[in-house]
Symmetry: C2
Subunit: 117 residues, 2 copies
DNA sequence: CAGATAATGAGAACGGTTACAATTTGGTAT
DNA sequence: ATACCAAATTGTAACCGTTCTCATTATCTG
């Protein structure tokens, strides 16, 4: 299952992943896909993000640590993104406001070169 | 309805808002709340974000332009946040990657001073 | 091989959201 | 006032992604 996620260059929904596995001939139930994805997400082996419509998308990321994504709204292709400055900014800002247990998410979206037009 | 949203200092779900309006004695249908919220969101009169569980939360923001939020995971209280540097970073990064029609979201979450402990 | 344990998966249930059709509301012309 | 029309509103049913249930199947262990 992780292989199928890695094979895809973008984020997949649980149902897309299920369909993909089925097409490959694997007899796997949708419930199992959801269960395993949840475990993988809980253990930070895959990244999760939410579509505008509320759907959950999953991806096996190359980068191990904390990072963010630049994603094409049309084709779904994804690049990983990092910036120590921005990390520091987010953290110090929250700290100044008295927050603890700080985390953050950053999503940059747009139309990639291929999809533009 | 906008008043009810403004009265709340944090984000409200559509259903919470509906309940609030009902408690105030207004006879309003859930469908209407959803409809009007959608219109308000489409016209950028309210901000929308998605819970981890996929639920949509709405807020009438003080700041008019583009901005982000620092939010307490426990009590839901929200502060508005801006940073020209981060805006520029996100935009130039996407542009360098060949992206157009660029947008981004940043959410910083944690436990606020009151809720910490 | 037997028995216990965990993983699996088809289908039901669930919760937030949207679509639909009927009703109400508000305005305008008669 | 009254009749008429268009837009807004509303309860309910449908929808869709996700989670739960629990019978079945696979995997360990001795």
């Amino acid at each position: 299952m992780l292989e199928a996620l890695e094979a895809s260059d973008g984020f997949l929904s649980a149902q897309q992943l299920h369909a993909t596995l089925r097409e490959q001939g694997q007899r796997v139930g949708l419930a199992t896909v959801y269960n395993r994805l949840r475990i993988l997400a809980d253990t930070h082996q895959v990244d999760v993000l939410r579509t505008e419509s509320g759907e959950a998308l999953y991806r096996r990321c190359g980068a191990q640590g904390h990072h963010h994504h630049l994603r094409c709204r049309r084709c779904g292709s994804v690049q990983e993104v990092e910036s120590a400055e921005v990390e520091a900014w987010a953290h110090s800002l929250a700290k100044k406001a008295g927050f603890s247990d700080i985390s953050h998410t950053i999503e940059i979206t747009g139309l990639c070169e291929k999809c533009h037009g």
